[in-house]
């Protein structure tokens, strides 16, 4: 079985000033797995997620990322999304003037077009959207609002989950999905993610906290510092980290 995501000896950083942030990263994720990456602030966790999603501010200096049999560096940002990478951002951006439903229609149809499927018309799309929204407890009123404009932290994350549900990614990256959420909102996110996770897709969870990992059970936990993984293990690693902090792992 080929891996869904395979990162090999990756060195990468900020395109503008050539600052290297990721230094010798190796990571393999197979379909069906849940991986968690934990690490101190400034270790380059977000750089990794942006790099996977294809943000133009970041570039690879050496090494390789393969996703679902393709060299990721050959795909544009939108092609990566359509190929099955979904990045749920720490701070989803507000887009005044664009309604949630019209944005989602564009996104769903872009993916269908990429897959060689006919685009959905307004009526077909609304049917799909309503079903998904109902499942996740997203109100009809929210679908009419402008994307993330005036949304609470919880509403923003709920919208991210709805997008994930509609786009059915092969690899969902949750970048600090827990930031700014109270425990109820966190539970909603976790329930949504757990519902979507199956043997054909994988999750990469970037977090500081054990709370989220108690709600979304990881198969693997990686401790990430100074641009690479310093230790890998199962969930007990996260528990040890919560107890002792990063210091003991960094010194080791």
């Amino acid at each position: 079985m080929t891996a869904l995501l395979q990162i090999k000896d990756l060195y990468a950083g900020v395109a503008e000033n050539k600052k290297e942030i990721i230094k010798g990263l190796n990571l393999t994720i197979n379909a069906g797995e849940v991986h968690a990456i934990m690490g101190p602030n400034g270790a380059g966790k977000s750089t990794l997620s942006y790099l996977l999603a294809g943000k133009s501010d970041y570039e690879i200096t050496s090494g390789k990322i393969d996703f679902d049999g393709k060299d990721l560096s050959e795909l544009t940002t939108s092609e990566r999304a359509n190929a099955g990478i979904f990045l749920s951002m720490q701070y989803p951006v507000a887009i005044p003037g664009v309604s949630v439903s019209s944005f989602l229609k564009h996104a769903v149809n872009a993916k269908r077009k990429y897959a060689g499927l006919p685009e959905l018309d307004a009526a077909e799309f609304l049917k799909v959207l309503r079903t998904a929204a109902k499942e996740l407890g997203v109100s009809a009123e929210m679908l009419k609002r402008e994307i993330n404009v005036g949304f609470s932290g919880g509403e923003k994350k709920r919208l991210e989950i709805l997008q994930m549900r509609l786009l059915e990614p092969k690899l969902a990256i949750l970048d600090e999905a827990d930031s700014g959420l109270d425990i109820d909102a966190l539970r909603i996110v976790a329930e949504g993610v757990n519902r979507l996770h199956n043997k054909d897709n994988a999750l990469l969870i970037i977090t500081h906290h054990l709370d989220l990992l108690n709600l979304i059970e990881p198969d693997f936990v990686h401790i990430y510092a100074d641009g690479h993984i310093v230790r890998s293990g199962d969930k007990s690693l996260a528990e040890a980290l919560e107890k002792d902090g990063y210091k003991s792992f960094l010194e080791a």
Partner: protein
């Protein structure tokens, strides 16, 4: 070089007061001279005098080959009362309008003489050279009086059409009066066939009496080589409300100037707009809102897009007179500047002589937001589509302020 207005044949030369008024307009225009780079109000959007040399002035014989009368019922894109100007000329003197609306051609209103109390009474010609020129060429236009308490159920849709074979300066003067408590929506739609070359010089004098409300929507969708200059001169009395939206498409020059006097307590004005330029056109939205009485409110929201080698101009002055206490004036202009060769000129001016006022203005100009573009691409939307959607959204922020849903949807589909 001055223009020899007296040689242009116009209707009603035997009416002394009319001839006198035209002469005064000609004199003032020729005294001011053609606006140039040194004319403060025109420094961003002046154009060469020579550009109108090949146009016919004042020949309003009807050259349209089809029967324009028949358009009136079919020309509106949504349920509305249609009125049409063809190549600068009002096509009919019979209007299909509801009770409580008195409509006449300007010629007929001049003949009756009653229009004198409104004609050229809302602005000083010295400040508006092209309105002075318009006065020198007074003939074509429409007079609409909405009688006391009348509420019109559908918009009045005025279409100004210019044909390909027409090369002309079209001078149009409309007088719109809403008497006490009257309410109306007026849409002005300007269109020109692809190769048409013309100059529309339009002046609307609008009088809103106590408690009247006018929604005034303008869409200038002129031919690429056309020039369009319009002055909306509006007097707003006690508790009356003027709400306008100006949508400017791309042509050689489209300039809309709003000169609004909030004359009495409780008068309000909303002067919103949008412009969208992709190639080499020039768009100018200039407003001068004068708060002359206490408890008056004005609001302005304008969104623009300039790409290619185009130029967008926004000049907004809010004047608050010493007696105009407890007034509010808000102004916001945001433009997308999408190419290195495009230009945006913005000149906000606040003149506040009262001390108990709330005023704010904001002006921004820049490229599309990189974070928004990334977010959309990260959801599978191509970069080109993401740009298109964001530009659309930027314009929609302005269009969403249009209260009439038919007009709003029409502009969203066509602007």
């Amino acid at each position: 070089m001055s223009i020899e207005f007296e040689k242009i044949p116009l209707w009603g030369e035997d009416i002394p007061w009319l001839s006198g008024l035209r002469e005064k307009g000609a004199q003032i225009f020729n005294n001011i001279g053609w606006p140039n780079a040194k004319t403060e109000a025109w420094k961003y959007s002046y154009f060469p005098r020579a550009d109108i040399d090949n146009l016919m002035l004042g020949d309003y014989s009807h050259k349209c080959e089809h029967d324009c009368h028949c358009h009136e019922k079919t020309l509106t894109p949504f349920a509305a009362y249609g009125i049409k100007f063809c190549d600068g000329r009002l096509t009919s003197e019979h209007f299909d309008l509801p009770q409580g609306v008195e409509a006449k051609s300007l010629v007929e209103a001049i003949y009756d003489g009653e229009i004198k109390k409104y004609l050229n009474k809302s602005f000083e010609m010295e400040n508006f050279p092209f309105a002075a020129m318009n006065t020198a060429l007074l003939e074509q236009g429409l007079v609409l009086i909405i009688e006391r308490g009348t509420i019109i159920d559908r918009p009045i849709f005025i279409c100004y059409h210019q044909h390909n074979n027409n090369r002309q300066l079209s001078s149009i003067r409309n007088i719109i009066v809403l008497e006490n408590r009257a309410q109306a929506t007026i849409v002005e739609y300007f269109e020109g066939e692809a190769d048409a070359l013309y100059f529309n010089n339009v002046v609307n004098e609008i009088y809103l009496q106590n408690d009247a409300t006018l929604c005034h929507y303008i869409y200038a969708n002129e031919a690429r080589r056309a020039r369009h200059i319009a002055l909306n001169s509006v007097n707003v009395r006690a508790n009356a409300s003027y709400k306008s939206f100006i949508a400017q498409g791309e042509c050689a020059l489209s300039r809309h100037e709003s000169h609004i006097l909030l004359q009495q307590e409780g008068a309000t004005a909303v002067v919103n707009g949008a412009y969208r330029l992709a190639q080499n056109g020039v768009s100018d939205i200039t407003t001068d809102i004068c708060h002359l009485a206490a408890h008056t409110i004005s609001n302005q929201l304008v969104r623009g897009v300039a790409d290619g080698k185009s130029k967008g101009v926004f000049q907004g002055r809010i004047h608050i007179a010493p007696d105009a206490q407890q007034t509010e004036g808000y102004q916001q202009h945001r433009a997308l500047l999408l190419s290195d060769e495009a230009e945006i000129d913005a000149k906000p001016e606040l003149e506040i002589f009262a001390d108990d006022v709330k005023c704010a203005h904001g002006n921004t100009c820049g490229d599309l937001d990189a974070e928004q573009l990334f977010y959309m691409q990260a959801r599978g939307i191509s970069k080109d589509d993401a740009r298109r959607i964001l530009i659309e959204a930027h314009i929609n922020e302005a269009l969403n302020t249009i209260a009439d849903t038919n007009v709003q949807n029409w502009l969203k589909e066509n602007f």
